[in-house]
Symmetry: C2
Subunit: 462 residues, 2 copies
Amino acid sequence: MSEGTNHDAKRRIILNAFDMFTPSHLSFGQWRRDDDQSSTKRRDLDYWTNLARILERGDINALVIADTFGQHDVYKGSAETTLRSTVQFPMGDPSIPVTAMATVTKNLGFIITSSTSYESPFVVAKRFSTLDHLTKGRFGWNIVTSFKSSASKADHDEELANGLCRIWEGSWADDALKEDAENEIYVNPDRVRWIEHHSENFTLNAPHILDPSPQRTPFLLQAGTSPAGIAFAAKHAEGVMLSGLSPHILAPRVAALRSKAAEFGRNPRNIKVFAIVTPILGKTEEEAKAKYEKALKYASFEAGLAFYSGNAGIDLSTFDLDAEIKPEDSTVDSRIQSLVSSLKYRGADVPAWTPRTIGKAMAIGGNGPVPVGTPEQVADFLEEWIEIADLDGFNVGYVVSPGSFEDVVDLLVPELRRRGIYTPQGESGTIRERIYGVGQTRLLDEHEGSKYKYENYDFTQK
Amino acid sequence: MSEGTNHDAKRRIILNAFDMFTPSHLSFGQWRRDDDQSSTKRRDLDYWTNLARILERGDINALVIADTFGQHDVYKGSAETTLRSTVQFPMGDPSIPVTAMATVTKNLGFIITSSTSYESPFVVAKRFSTLDHLTKGRFGWNIVTSFKSSASKADHDEELANGLCRIWEGSWADDALKEDAENEIYVNPDRVRWIEHHSENFTLNAPHILDPSPQRTPFLLQAGTSPAGIAFAAKHAEGVMLSGLSPHILAPRVAALRSKAAEFGRNPRNIKVFAIVTPILGKTEEEAKAKYEKALKYASFEAGLAFYSGNAGIDLSTFDLDAEIKPEDSTVDSRIQSLVSSLKYRGADVPAWTPRTIGKAMAIGGNGPVPVGTPEQVADFLEEWIEIADLDGFNVGYVVSPGSFEDVVDLLVPELRRRGIYTPQGESGTIRERIYGVGQTRLLDEHEGSKYKYENYDFTQK
């Protein structure tokens, strides 16, 4: 087996669960249902430990917990709808429940979002190394970069990612930690390097404060595929998550990403690409459809509009709520034209796309697909997406939690396993091992961060 | 019962456990013993959950986990000894194991150190509110301020503490969180305020991102008693921790603190003062002495010197290791004179204070007392300290962990309880309730932070 290739002959489908420390992540209005517990997650560790147990039972690769520091405030020019209808607000810190979940699981990974904008590298390095230690290498970082603003911002993200890899990979030699009681040598000072960095953005001049964790650098996930985002991900990401209503929309983005990765000397297959999906599963088609109808009933169109308006930067409240928007109408903003064009890929039949129906659609699964059906139908759907868009798996969102995740584990996972495209039962290891194969706990040699490995890098060169 | 007075006629002794996410916190060299598990705490959640269960069994008020971002590097002008002999290095992030410990406890509080220097107020506010939610109000913050540097630094700390209290106390009205499914009002936007702040140090213009946790503002502990530190603590702290080798050294500091608190309109008894202590307990005096001898055998004098040199800012390696230092010798630095003078309060008999014997002494319990004896003897010792220095309790350090904490729980606590000066069995509640009485989950009205309570503060006034 060569390094980092898939370790199964048939390509395996990787499922992550996708949640956020907030009542409504990608489905809005469902908090009003009795069978939804998302609202309690801010208060109760039981929510998180129960969820972790469910996901572990389904051999889910990792729980990805998104995060944000802002409020959607484009719709109606204020955050009012965001607060009233709970659109990714209120929001807790995703790093906090991780160790509680780790106490009740052995295999499940935990990937949390953290922005490079708010914290200094040494704080992040220490916190993430602690998380990777205490989860035994089951920790990943979803890097949110700040590409939209400017080229200098992109440089900053690059600088920070490299700075962190230098701390994680380059400060401690593998044999620096001795714990030699007889000779009273806990750490061999000659095998620990001070990491120096002096720029406008940040200053470093210290060793990594914690001995290396199992993975050293956490598994690196990245979201978004702007041109700058693709360049960053092609170099730094081990996993990328994308969102789109059709595999035909994603396909060219995935191709661009893999081709850019090859330019950086990486095996393009080693970037694992996950599409966001919110399946609605039933034992029968009727059961699934009934669940979808119930979801529609509770879907808050206004929350959906606040979410979409915030993401797209267009205030949809300025439109007539019930007037049809036609993609061919050239007076409509091109971003809305493109949204409405892509909405045809939604499973549901909608007579006309108006802000109200758009809001309803966005309020179930956000800007990702919502396949509704039996395990067989949904598995067919996922396989088709994988084939068309060249994906490696999915970040699976919920309509209600933990109910939607229980359906994935109890209905979808057995079907995928029956098809021979799912992970073996009880597979353990670090996240990186579960992705790249047993033994591959550290960054692949081809990865950008590997050039900072203690033994590889000449640190006299700044 | 009036607000915030002690709720027992006889003054109760409050015990916190004092640990750090590092092999050696205040006792150095003991990591070489088979019966010490401190070295594994970086890697194993079991260390933390086991410790939490032990402390809960003893109705310990809270586990205080210290933190630092630097390395002691004064001794020999480098961090070599710090690394080699593990002097508060390597170090993990204390916020990470908290929820794991919360899953196995109901009453124990968790107070973690976080500096005001490294993170932006909104990051800290969100993280700490999350911790207070998920622990059901059992969370506290040990504020490390940066007083040493300059007056402008002190202003910065003051500004940051007030900024955080405004976020926690002033952003959400008590009735802002509706969770009203019928009318689709999750949060009432009219009852949530944006907190605005614009200064050189930081900028705020947002609501608190998370709904109020049980305590809103975490229980506020503060360490250190420099003059600026006393002024800060007298206004902001609900608990203060001090370190000194004699109660006579602490007494004037405690008096100054309480008197300054009174100047700020607070009941001076409402600042709970904890001295750091590292008791060595045995069922018999012989057993205790044997434990002390064993501790001495493993105590690393060089680590003790690295610790002391780092704290005091004096490099003791420049002295002859075995030459006696006499306090009356006027050629010796006054800080070392004062250290040597205070070392007479140590329980152990030492023929002469040399750098080597000072290092040994500092390597067991650091700069705090180390009473050695039976539960009765140690309880007498603690009661004497309380009386002389006007204390409210202790932060109890360890020689070996969790063994030293087990001794406190199994030997000392029953003796304190027998004397009627310890908390009732199984006492529950938020930290603030356990300190100030049932129902007192929020800041006392007299506390500085209370003026920022939503209903109290005119936020149009910047």
